[in-house]
Each structure stands twice: as C-alpha cells, then as structure tokens.
Amino acid sequence: MRAVFRLRVRVVLAVVLAVATLIVGRLYFVQVAQGAEYSRKAEQQFAAAGQSGLFDRGSIYFTTKNGIHVSAATLAAGYLVAINPRLLAAPTAAYDAISAVATTTLSKSAFLTAAANKNLVYVEVAHGLSSAAGQSLAAQNITGVELLPERWRWYPGASLATKTIGVVGYGSGSTLIGQSGLEEEYDSVLERSGGDLLGNFFATLFSGAGSTLVSAQNAREGDVVTTIEPEVETRLMDDVAAMNATHSSHSSGGIIMDPKTGAIIALASYPTYNPNDLTNVNPQLLENPLVSHVYEFGSIMKPITMVSALSAGVISATSTYNDTGCFHVDGSRICNWNYHAYGVIPMKTIIMQSLNVGASWVAEQLGHARMHDYFTKVFGSKTGIDLPNEATALMSNLSKPQQIYYDTASFGEGIAVTPVQMIRAEAAIANGGTLVTPHVVSSIVLQSGQTKELSWPSGPRVFTPQATRETASMMDGLFSQVLYNGKYNIPGIPVAMKTGTAQLPTPTGTYYNNRFFDDEVVFFPSNNPRFVILLYTEDPKNAIYGTDTITPPMIDLIHFLINYYNITPTEAGTTTP
C-alpha cells in the first residue's frame, strides 16, 4: 500500500517538474529567442487600438439644383507618422524620408531632439498624410517609424461658403467641436458620441443596448443638408471677390434667397479664408458679417418706407408731392443726391430717381407711431436664421421725437440692420408682404438613414399685397427705364431693383463725406419672384454710387441665374448681355 502511494507521489512530482520545464523553456523562447518579433507584434496591437479612436463627425452638404448632395464639410482619411526613439536607428535618414512625403512635420532640429530622447517611445511628427504618401512611406519599412490611420475635418470647396459652413476647433476641451457657422449651430447633430466598441466592452454593450431601445442618439446625430447651391455659390463668391478687388473695398458681400420660402441659395462675403489651413487666419474673419454685422444701407430702405406708407393707406401709388430738391428739418438740411428739384411728381419717381426729399415726405405722411410700428415689425427682432451670433438692428433713432430721425431712416441712414434682415425685408415686398425665415439648412439625414425635413414657418404678414405690387412696379421702372437708360432691360423678365449709397459713419457719430457703403437689391421675375439678391461693398475707393460699383456683378448674377435655372421670358426680345 505504501509502495503504491510513493509511486503515485513520484509520478505527480515528475509531471509538475515536466510542466515547469516546458513553461520555463517557452518563456525563454518568447522573451529571448523571439523577443524582437513579439515586441513588433505588440507595437502593431498598439496601433490597432489607436484605429478605433479615430475622429468622427457628420458631414455638411451643398445641394445642387437637381437635388444632388455635394460635400461641403466631411472627413479626410490618411495617416499620421509617429516615431519610437528607442527603436529609431537613423534619425536623419528617417527625417528626410518623412519630410519627403509629409505636408506637415516638425522642424529638423525638433525632430532630432525628440529622436535622441530614448525615454520616449511615441512621438507624433507628422499629420494629414494622404493614403498614397502613407503607403509610400510604409514601403520603406523604416524601423522606429510608425504609420497610424488618421481622419481629420476637410472642406472640399476650400473657401466656398466658408463663413457659413464654419470650422471646428478644440475650444477649451480636448474634443473637436464646431466653432463657427453651421459647424457650431448644428454641433449636436454633427458630433458623434458613440465610438470605441473595443475600448470598453461592457460599457459599449449596455450603452449600445440602451441606444437601440431608446434611439435617442440615432434621432439626433446625422448629416446636415443645406440649401446652398454650389455653382451659384461659386458664381456669387467670384463676383463678390472681383467687386471687392476692382474697388479696393474694405469688405463686400452678397446673398441670394428664395423670397417665398426664405431658403438661401448662396451667400458670400469677402475677405475670406481657407478652412483647410487656418494657420495665421485672423480670428475676426471667422465671423459672418452677413448675420453678425449691422450696416446703414441707404436708399434700398426707400422701398420699405414706401410699402409701409402704402400698406398703412396714408398715401396711394398715384399720390403726388412737390419736390424742392432740399429742405430743412430740426436744424439740418436734407437734399436729393443730385440736389435737383423735380417739382410735383408721383410716388414712383421717388423710387425710380431715389429721392431723399420724397422719402422724407412719405415718412412724414406715415407719422412717427406708424413708422416705428412698421419698422419694428420688419427689423425689430432677429430673423431666426440658423446661423450663430445673429446681431440685432440698431433702431433707437425711431424712438426719438425729432422728425429728422424719421426722415433719415426713410432713406436708410441713422438705423442699421444686418444684410440678412435687409434681404428678408425686401423679400417681403417680393412675396406679397410676408416675413419669411431665412435659413440655410433644409434637412438632417439621421444616422438611422431617415431624413428629417426641417420646417421654417413664415412669419406674419406685414405689408398688404396691393402695396407690395405697387412698390415692386416702381422698382421695375428703375431697372427697365432709369438704370443706364434701360440698357439692361430684359424682355419678358421684369426685374425689380433698388440701388443704395450711404455715407459711412465715423467713430464719433458723424458721417464721412468721402467714404461710402454701396448696395443694391433686386428680385425677379418681379411678377412671380424666384430670386432676391442683395449685394454690398463697404468703402469702395474709386467710385461713389452703388449704381457704378454694384451693377456689373448684379447684372452678371441676374443673367447667370436666368440661364442656369432656365427662367423663360414671357415675351421675345433682345438685350445686351
């Protein structure tokens, strides 16, 4: 019995020793004989772990006239380059190889300093390599140089509508978030809160189950589809940039909108920047002056004064007044732009000849209370456009008792509004009197694949349909008869237009005599408007009047839109292109 027991103990002991020997032998092969190979595999696993943490964010799309989506903001995929100083044997050669394919990298001295620090095992030295450049570098198989997949925000149109699309940045945290434009306004839609499925298995399992049941994340996150048409946007941007360059202006801008729905088809301002390279970009350029800056627009305010008085019934389209060329009010003298006295003339001449004396007469007929009421309805609140940092109009002059403030406001001086507010007001004349909500986003394509159409309700009716028709008719006359003696008249396509020129205010509250703000507004076909266009240029150096500075790009845009959207005339005729 004892002999059997002793034998069993020896067998067990032999087995334990054999297993221990096998383990020690295996450890020797793993750590010593094949240590380098396993070390390489471990590094590869580190790289694989990095892949699951790639930057992710929804896209923003332009929409062509045919309804095709084209990326305005999306993700680019490529590689980042990192070095492991402990393994890097030839730093100078490695730097030369990396800098030959990388668009951004450390300086050579900084690279060599990092490579010499053997306490480090991971230093990122270049970002944003294209797939081709990354594969080219990988093919060289340089020990100590690692290529890791990377994604980053990319704007295929570069500076196209950039102030509207916006940019992303780190802000105060470590996560990229929208900093301006639609990137900021729709950040909660574009951000991706999900992500690393391999990072924390149980957290992912249960949070994933929760989101599947509730679908809150799927109902919120998606891609943003704008109403901006890329070809129209390109044309507008080129025209605005050319106008700014021709007149060496301080800044210029423009908006093209559907006056019936408020859908903005294009909007551009200059100077601008390339969002793909924000190095040395002045942060002030990130602002969108079309929604965040207020200007005194000058005479394009006259149609608003006219339609208000016609809607109030204090004048009619056939009313007349005696234009004296100049008059005095509250100790100041107000004159027509050409100091000409027109005598007894009808209302349409006020718009067609842009008469300050006539606009002031209309304001006096309207009275303080009614003018304050109409202008507050039109400009007294924000438009609700889906862009951040919308400014409010400066209209305190219309709360003062002196008549001069109402007179100057009637032709667009002394009150300041944003370009978006201005085009919405003009659109109300075009669409029969309703204040629409300007907007640049039409829908959200959710992660689930469903499309959520956004509704942008029209605001209140502020003008009567008859008053808007009569005012539009006056504006038609300016384009077809007065503007360069009707040179640009388009047969069968009536165009309603108003030009504007305002003196720029000085910091002390007076006005410059030789610095101006020029602008123009048109909508066409004025009998059934499809487009309303607003253009402006601030402080042009070699011209005074909006007629001279704005008309060439405006005519180009009108013809472009007619041809691009196949707007057919109602009668035959010939015009100068």
Binding site: S52, L54, F201, T234, R235, I493
Partner: protein
C-alpha cells in the same frame, strides 16, 4: 433479499440530484455567456471595420467632390476673351412654350 435488490420508480426519481442539475445549468450558462461574448466581440470588430471602411470610401468620394468644386471654380474664373472667344453682342430671349401647347 430479492425485494432489497429491486429498484422502485420512486427511488429512481430520487437519484436525480438538484446539485447535478444546477451544475449542468451553470455549465451551460457559462458556455453560453462565453459564446455571447465572443459573438458580441466579433460583431463589434466587424462594425468598427465596416464603419471605418464606409468613412474611407466617403473620404475618397469627397476627394472627387473637391475636384468637381475646383472645376466649377476654374470654369467661373476662365477669361474667355483671353482664350480667344468674343463676348456676344446681343442676347435673344424667346418666350417659353406653355405646357398646354404640347397636348
């Protein structure tokens, strides 16, 4: 004595131990749990891979879209006069046909 060797149905039922039953159940659940973890991990890996593949494809499409937008910009900025084309001296407008005219 013959009766002592006899096993009644009641005794046979008593030989099913609850401990054995629970042990089997635990073993089955354990295997199922490990299997589910494996499935979910595999699903997660495939999802991540698929998601990255989609994003990579979208990035390639975006490159093409960038070329399209560059082409538009190029067309807009082309100086046709420098290219030898003359600006037309007149533009003729023709009224559009009414839809009813096609009937």
């Amino acid at each position: 004595m013959r009766n002592a060797a006899f096993t009644s149905p009641a005794r046979a039922r008593a030989s099913f131990s609850p401990i054995a039953l629970l042990t089997g159940l635990v073993a089955t659940l354990g295997v199922a749990y490990v299997g589910l973890i494996a499935v979910v991990m595999a699903y997660a890996a495939v999802t991540v891979q698929f998601s990255q593949s989609v994003r990579s494809d979208e990035a390639q499409v975006a490159v093409l879209e960038g070329q399209y937008l560059s082409a538009i910009a190029g067309i807009n900025s082309t100086d046709y006069a420098a290219a030898g084309y003359a600006k037309p001296i007149a533009e003729v407008y023709v009224p559009g046909a009414r839809a009813t005219a096609l009937r």
